[in-house]
């Protein structure tokens, strides 16, 4: 039987761009160039490797996001995923992590899955909670923050490098996995891959396709609110010296003045 893999990917504002907030204090996703979150490329890569090992597998990439989020799906398709689902609805604007996990869980169920693979965190929100939330909502094991992952005979195994220990984990499918940037470099799309991606199916679903009401998501449905966002004041220019043989000593003098020594 075919192994159905759903990879959740997020379209995020470019971290090297000028990220900021819109007037309603949501992340501005219009003014800043976006892209497939680099950390989700690792999820796509592991999905491709797992699919290559399996006899028969199908990879669906799934995103919840604005119109331009299609770019993220195209990139994942050009890396080798088979098809894509884009959940897009004006009422989704301002959805928080709790709401996003609700929408993703509904879409994952509708798509059908044996294995969900997510990134370790989105590069804009950096919460790192959506995979655990998906496992909670779907009622399946979470096997998260893996730096190594494999699937065999309906069992997913992986290594999670934690603060105090490195753990070997194991769970039966269906399950939700998330992978870190230590899991292995993501491949670049080949020219052939880019051409093929143009012909791969991208389905669009809105809230009604997922039996969700507008009040459950978006700014209105959010469980959290941002009351203020202020740009961090630029650091006051520090002292910069050129080392002419005494740089280490000068630095020590500074540290002593600050009472660090």
């Amino acid at each position: 039987m075919s192994l159905r893999i759903v990879v959740t990917v997020k379209y995020v504002p470019d971290a090297t761009g000028d990220r900021h907030f819109a007037d309603d204090l949501t992340v501005d996703r219009d003014d800043v160039d976006g892209l497939l979150s680099e950390l989700d490329e690792y999820a796509v890569e592991q999905a491709l490797q797992i699919a290559e090992e399996a006899d028969d597998a199908e990879i669906t990439v799934l995103t919840v996001g604005p119109e331009d989020a299609k770019d993220a799906l195209r990139k994942a398709l050009s890396m080798g995923a088979d098809k894509a689902v884009h959940v897009e609805d004006d009422d989704l604007h301002g959805t928080d992590a709790i709401g996003t996990s609700l929408v993703l869980a509904k879409a994952i169920e509708k798509a059908g899955y044996d294995l969900v693979i997510s990134g370790m965190a989105s590069t804009d929100g950096t919460m790192g909670v959506v995979p655990a939330l998906l496992a909670e909502r779907l009622g399946v094991p979470q096997v998260t923050l893996l730096s190594e992952v494999s699937v065999e005979d309906g069992v997913v195994k992986g290594r999670r490098d934690g603060d105090t220990a490195s753990e070997q984990l194991e769970a039966s499918l269906p399950a939700v996995v998330s992978v870190t940037d230590q899991s292995g470099e993501a491949r670049y799309p080949s020219f052939k891959g880019i051409m093929a991606a143009k012909k791969k199916p991208v389905e669009s679903w809105d809230l009604s396709d997922l039996d969700l009401e507008a009040e459950e998501v978006g700014l209105e449905g959010a469980y959290t609110t941002v009351d203020a966002a202020a740009e961090r004041p630029a650091r006051t220019a520090g002292t910069i010296v050129k080392d002419e043989g005494e740089g280490g000593k000068q630095l020590a003098e500074f540290l002593a003045g600050q009472k660090f020594i």
């Binding site: 909670e136 469980y223 961090r232 540290l255």
Partner: protein
């Protein structure tokens, strides 16, 4: 006064510093009730009472070590139901965030992660967060349910505030899902004898400029002279010169020490994401144009192989 649930991060009964910081913050918004799970849970009570816990709920079972995350969520939910707190605070570790998130969904609440400060507000606790690689500071609130908030290390001072801290056994019935993900092996991280990276008052980091695993001895020597933790950029980690557990930045640890010293690190946005909130920043880099110099309080343009050893000698000399 309303009770605030504080999830305790401990190693065999030794409470980790971020939990003591949480108690300081919890006291601003209510009376801290601590929840300690797993082996040695009861031994946490003295330290927790010393820092303001009015009660310590404890429970030990093999499930906490043998299965991932969910048993702890079950227990925290049991504590939530027993106490009906006005907020739940959890240390912002990778695991802490996962536990907090799952609890939030179960109790129909919102979640805020990685707060760097917390104060009481008219409509519930107000969390300060540092976002977009610390280029913005936000103030947020939870608007539905009981606020569940995870807080980063070094967000508050540890304060002594002796309280009762009476130990009470927590009643936990594990859910069917608790045993879904089995931990089949565990290799504890070897102790280096240096301070914990996220908790250290001083962090000394090396990057690609260190140019080799063996050269990290220079960074370690400086760190040891200052009693500091050692960090590394992703370039240094990817090159295999230093362990990933020491990586500072977006996909490594986020640190906020009193003093951060970067050597041979250019200061890419993803690195800054993990260190920009440090109080004092110092850099040594041979390229005067390196973006790290935009952040520094003091910078030395020079070769780290000259500057760092000289600094180490000078620190040792001054410390006698």
């Amino acid at each position: 006064m309303a009770e605030v649930l504080v999830y305790v991060d401990h190693v065999d009964g030794a409470v980790r510093k971020p939990t003591l910081e949480l108690l300081t913050l919890a006291r601003r918004i209510g009376e801290p009730v601590a929840v300690a799970l797993g082996a040695g849970a009861e031994n946490t009570a003295a330290a927790l009472a010393e820092h303001g816990a009015v009660k310590v709920l404890t429970h030990d079972a093999s499930e906490y070590a043998d299965y991932l995350v969910v048993p702890k969520v079950d227990a925290l939910q049991a504590a939530y139901e027993a106490v009906s707190p006005s907020a739940v605070l959890v240390p912002s570790s990778a695991e802490g965030k996962e536990i907090a998130a799952r609890l939030a969904v179960r109790i129909g609440s919102g979640i805020i992660t990685d707060a760097v400060d917390l104060e009481a507000g008219d409509e519930g606790p107000v969390a300060t967060q540092s976002v977009f690689a610390a280029s913005f500071t936000t103030k947020s609130r939870i608007t539905k349910g009981t606020p569940v908030i995870t807080v980063k290390p070094n967000s508050a001072a540890v304060e002594a505030a002796p309280a009762d801290g009476a130990v009470e056994a927590l009643n936990v019935t594990f859910s069917e899902k608790a045993t879904g993900t089995k931990v089949t092996g565990r290799t504890p991280r070897e102790s280096t004898g240096r301070p914990e990276l996220t908790e250290a008052a001083i962090v000394v980091s090396g990057g690609r400029g260190v140019n080799g695993a063996e050269n990290f001895a220079i960074i370690e020597a400086l760190a040891d002279s200052l009693g500091a933790a050692v960090g590394a950029s992703r370039a240094a980690v990817d090159a295999g010169w230093y362990p990933h557990t020491n990586q500072v930045g977006q996909t490594g640890k986020s640190v906020s020490p009193q003093l951060y010293i970067a050597s041979g690190i250019s200061g890419a946005i993803q690195h800054r994401a993990g260190m920009q909130t440090s109080k004092t920043i110092v850099a040594i880099n041979k390229d005067a144009e390196a973006p790290i110099f935009d952040l520094v309080d003091y910078g030395v343009v020079g070769d780290l192989f000259d500057v760092v050893p000289q600094l180490t000698e000078e620190v040792k000399a001054r410390k006698g």
